[in-house]
C-alpha cells in the first residue's frame, strides 16, 4: 500500500513574467494608465515651481519660462499632456461602469453618463483658455 507522502498535493504555480504587460494591449494600456500618475505628479511640481517663481519676482519667473523653453522640457510637457489626456479619457469612459443609473426602471445609456463629463471638461478648458488668452 502506498505511503502518505505519495499523496501530498503538489501544485505548480507558474511565475508571472516581468514583462507580462507587453503581451496584450489592454494590459499595456493599464500599465500606461498607472504610469500616467508620474506625469501628473510632474505637472503638480511644475505648478509649485511656477508659484514659487512668481513669489520671488518677475525676473525669476522669466528665468523659469526660459528654462521651460528648452526642447527637453517641451518634450517632457508634451508627453505629460498626452498622459494626462489619456488618464482623463480612460477615467471618463469608466464613469458609466461605476454608475448604474436607472430612470423609470430603464438603465441610462452609457453615452448619457459619459457625455456630461466631456462637456464639463470642454467648458472648463474653454474658461481657462479665455482667462489666459484674453490679455
Amino acid at each position: 500500500m502506498a505511503g502518505p507522502t505519495e499523496y501530498l498535493p503538489k501544485t505548480f504555480r507558474p511565475r508571472v513574467s516581468t514583462y507580462w504587460w507587453l503581451g496584450r494591449w489592454s494590459y499595456l494600456k493599464f500599465i500606461l494608465r498607472e504610469l500616467s500618475s508620474i506625469f501628473i505628479a510632474w505637472f503638480v511640481i511644475l505648478t509649485l515651481l511656477q508659484i514659487s517663481a512668481l513669489k520671488r519676482g518677475p525676473a525669476d519667473y522669466v528665468q523659469l519660462q526660459e528654462w521651460l523653453r528648452r526642447p527637453i522640457l517641451v518634450a517632457l510637457n508634451a508627453l505629460s499632456l498626452f498622459f494626462v489626456v489619456f488618464h482623463t479619457v480612460t477615467w471618463f469612459n469608466l464613469a458609466p461602469k461605476a454608475m448604474s443609473i436607472r430612470v423609470r426602471g430603464k438603465p441610462v445609456s452609457n453615452l448619457l453618463i459619459t457625455a456630461p463629463n466631456y462637456l464639463a471638461w470642454l467648458a472648463i478648458s474653454a474658461a481657462v483658455a479665455w482667462l489666459l488668452l484674453r490679455g
Binding site: 500500500m1 502506498a2 505511503g3 505519495e6 499523496y7 501530498l8 498535493p9 503538489k10
Partner: protein, 582 residues
C-alpha cells in the same frame, strides 16, 4: 494509509437534491455535521442544465387536484398517488422558499412570481427564471449552502462504494481526485443525490458526469432499483452534443423534415400539415409519439445519415432571421455557439435523445430506501411521482421536495444512531482500497480500452433498449452487456498517476454504467407490455392486470439482476386512458 473522517449525515452528490437536503439537515438540527461528497464542484452539477422551469400550483385558477391529475395521467398511471399528492402539495412552498433564498424567478409587472404554460400541464403553473431555471436554482442553493458552517464539502471526491455494517449503511469510500488518496468517510446516514444515468446511451442531453453512480452504488449494496425500464426521450436534440432544441422552436412554426424534405409526421396519425402551427398536431404532437415516428422513418430508410448516425431535420429557415432572433434567440445561440450551425440559413439535424430516467433507487415518501441508513433523492431516486413518463417541469420541484424530505428524515435517523463501529467499517474500506489498486491502478497486461467498451455499451443500449424494444433484441443486449462486464476486467489504464486520474474515474464510471444498463435491460425485458416511455413492439398494449406495478431490480450474488414487482399505490384516481396534454 487510509484516511478517515466522520460526520452525522453524508450526501453523495452536490446538485439540486443534495444541496437542498444539506440545507434541510442544517435547518432541522444545526448541531449535526453534514458532508457533501461530490465528484464535481457543486455548481458544476447537472441541475445547472435544466432550462424550462419548475411546476408548482400558485395561480388562482389552478388547483392541487389538477396538478396531481396531470402528473398521474402523464405518468400512465404508474405513479404512486400518495407520493404525487405529497409532491404537489409541497412543491409551491419549496419554490417559495427558494425565492426567499434569492432565486431570481421571473416576475409579473406587479412583482409577484410569473408562471408560464408547459407541455403536459393543463394549467399555467411553471415557475421559471428566464431560460436558465436549473442554473439559477442550483446557484441559489449552492450560494445559500455556503452560510451553513456545519456543512463540510468534499469537492471532487469520487465515491466508489458504500460502507455497510450490520445491515446499515454507515459511510462511503471515496477517492480524493486531487491527490488520489483513498478515504473512508463515516456517517450515521447516507443520502444519494447523484442524478441520472443518461450517459448509458449514445445520444443524450445529459452531461458527461451523468453515469448512474448512485444507482449502481445502491444496487451493489443490495437496494433495489425501481422502474428502470422507463427512459424518457426528447424528440429534438442535436445528435453530436445532445443539446436540446426546445419545443418552442416547433411551437413558433418549425417543421420536422425527413431526408426527402417531407413533413413526415403527417404519416403517423398526427394531423395534416398546415402552414401555421396547430396545438397537439404535427410538430406539436406529444414528445414520445414524435420520437417513435423518428424510429419508423429510420426503419424505412427515410432519415439522413449524418456523421453521428441517422437524423431528421428541423427547418426554421422559412421563419426568417427576424422571427428567429426575436422569438428563438437561445435556439440560434446554442446552434451557432456549440455546433457551428446557423438555423437562419441551415437545416438543424435533430434526433430523439435520452433526457431523463423515471426509474431509480426505490424509496418511500421520505427518501428512505429499504437499506437502513440509506436515503436517495432527485433523479437517482424513484419515489415514484414520474411513473412511466415524467411531465416537463416536474423534476426541479421533485428534487427540492424530496431532497428536503430525505434530508429531514436522515437527520432524524442520524440523531438516534450510535457512532458507527469504526473497526468493522475500516476493514471494508481497506478491502476497497485493495480492489481499486488490483483492478485498475496496479494491473497490467489488459488490452481493452475504456472508450471502446463505452461505445459498444451505448450502441447496444440504443439498439435493444432504445425508443422501441423487442424481446429478442433486449435479450441480445443483455448478453452483450454481460460480455462487456467481462471485458471490463481486462481494461488497461494508460494513466498511473495519483493526481487527478480522470481515466480511473472513467473506468469506475463505466463499471457503474454497465450495472445500470443491465438493470434497464432486464426490467425492460420482463415488462411485456407497453406503457408510457416503455414501448414493446411485441407487446404494444398496456396490461394493467399484470403490470400496474413497479419493477424492482435486485442484484443477485452472481452479479446478474433479478426483477420483482410491487403494486402501484392507487388512492383516488383509477387508471384511465392516457390523455396527451399539449
Amino acid at each position: 494509509m487510509l484516511d478517515v473522517s466522520s460526520h452525522d449525515v453524508l450526501l453523495v452528490g452536490g446538485g439540486g437534491a443534495g444541496l437542498r437536503a444539506a440545507i434541510a439537515i442544517s435547518e432541522a438540527d444545526a448541531g449535526l455535521s453534514v458532508a457533501i461528497v461530490s465528484k464535481v464542484y457543486p455548481m458544476r452539477s447537472h441541475t445547472v442544465s435544466a432550462e424550462g422551469g419548475a411546476a408548482g400550483v400558485i395561480h388562482p385558477d389552478d388547483s392541487l387536484e389538477e396538478h396531481i391529475y396531470d402528473t398521474i395521467s402523464g405518468g400512465d398511471w404508474l405513479c404512486d398517488q400518495d407520493a404525487v399528492e405529497t409532491f404537489v402539495k409541497e412543491a409551491p412552498e419549496e419554490l417559495l422558499r427558494l425565492e426567499h433564498w434569492g432565486c431570481p424567478w421571473s416576475r409579473q409587472e406587479d412583482g409577484h412570481i410569473a408562471v408560464r404554460p408547459f407541455g403536459g400541464m393543463k394549467k399555467t403553473r411553471t415557475w421559471f427564471a428566464a431560460d436558465k431555471t436549473g442554473f439559477h436554482l442550483l446557484h441559489t442553493l449552492f450560494q445559500t449552502s455556503l452560510k451553513f458552517s456545519a456543512i463540510t464539502r468534499y469537492d471532487e471526491y469520487f465515491v466508489t462504494r458504500l460502507l455497510i455494517n450490520d445491515g446499515c449503511v454507515q459511510g462511503v469510500v471515496a477517492i480524493e481526485l486531487a491527490t488520489g488518496r483513498i478515504q473512508a468517510i463515516i456517517a450515521k446516514a447516507v443520502i444519494l443525490c447523484t442524478g441520472g444515468c443518461g450517459r448509458v446511451f449514445r445520444f443524450t442531453t445529459n452531461a458527461s458526469i451523468k453515469t448512474g453512480d448512485g444507482m449502481a452504488l445502491a444496487y451493489r449494496a443490495g437496494a433495489p432499483l425501481k422502474d428502470m425500464e422507463f427512459v424518457q426521450y426528447h424528440p429534438t436534440g442535436l445528435p453530436f452534443t445532445g443539446i436540446l432544441i426546445t419545443e418552442a422552436a416547433r411551437a413558433e412554426g418549425g417543421y420536422l423534415l425527413n431526408k426527402e424534405g417531407y413533413r413526415y409526421l403527417q404519416d403517423y396519425n398526427l394531423g395534416t400539415p398546415q402552414p401555421k402551427p396547430v396545438l397537439r398536431s404535427m410538430e406539436l404532437g406529444p414528445r414520445d409519439r414524435l420520437s417513435q415516428a423518428f424510429v419508423k422513418e429510420q426503419e424505412q430508410g427515410r432519415t439522413s445519415e449524418g456523421l453521428y448516425g441517422p437524423v431528421v431535420y428541423l427547418d426554421l429557415r422559412h421563419l426568417g432571421e427576424k422571427v428567429i432572433n426575436a422569438r428563438l434567440p437561445f435556439v440560434r445561440e446554442l446552434c451557432l455557439k456549440y455546433e457551428n450551425i446557423d438555423p437562419v440559413k441551415e437545416l438543424i439535424p435533430v434526433r430523439p435523445v435520452v433526457h431523463y430516467m423515471m426509474g431509480g433507487v426505490h424509496t418511500d415518501l421520505n427518501g428512505a430506501t429499504p437499506l437502513k441508513g440509506l436515503y436517495a433523492a432527485g433523479e437517482v431516486a424513484c419515489v415514484s411521482i414520474n411513473g412511466a413518463n415524467r411531465l416537463g417541469s416536474n423534476s426541479l420541484p421533485e428534487l427540492l421536495v424530496f431532497g428536503a424530505r430525505a434530508g429531514r428524515a436522515a437527520a432524524a435517523f442520524a440523531a438516534g444512531q450510535q457512532a458507527p463501529n469504526r473497526r468493522q467499517i475500516l476493514a471494508q474500506a481497506l478491502d476497497e482500497e485493495t480492489r481499486l489498486h488490483d483492478q485498475f491502478l496496479q494491473k497490467s497486461g489488459g488490452r481493452e480500452r475504456i472508450s471502446t467498451l463505452r461505445d459498444e455499451m451505448q450502441t447496444t443500449m440504443e439498439k435493444g433498449a432504445g425508443i422501441y424494444r423487442r424481446g429478442d433484441l433486449l435479450t441480445h443486449t443483455a448478453g452483450k452487456l454481460i460480455e462487456l462486464q467481462e471485458r471490463l476486467g481486462s481494461v488497461t489504464l494508460y494513466d498511473r498517476s495519483h493526481v487527478f486520474n480522470t481515466e480511473l474515474v472513467s473506468a469506475l464510471e463505466l463499471s457503474f454504467m454497465l450495472d445500470v444498463a443491465e438493470c434497464i435491460t432486464h426490467a425492460a425485458l420482463q415488462r411485456t407490455e407497453s406503457r408510457g416511455a416503455h414501448q414493446r413492439t411485441d407487446f404494444p398494449a398496456r396490461n394493467d392486470e399484470r403490470f400496474l406495478a413497479h419493477s424492482l431490480v435486485y442484484r443477485q450474488t452472481d452479479g446478474r439482476p433479478r426483477t420483482e414487482y410491487l403494486p402501484v399505490t392507487i388512492t383516488r384516481w383509477p387508471p384511465g386512458e392516457r390523455v396527451y396534454g399539449r
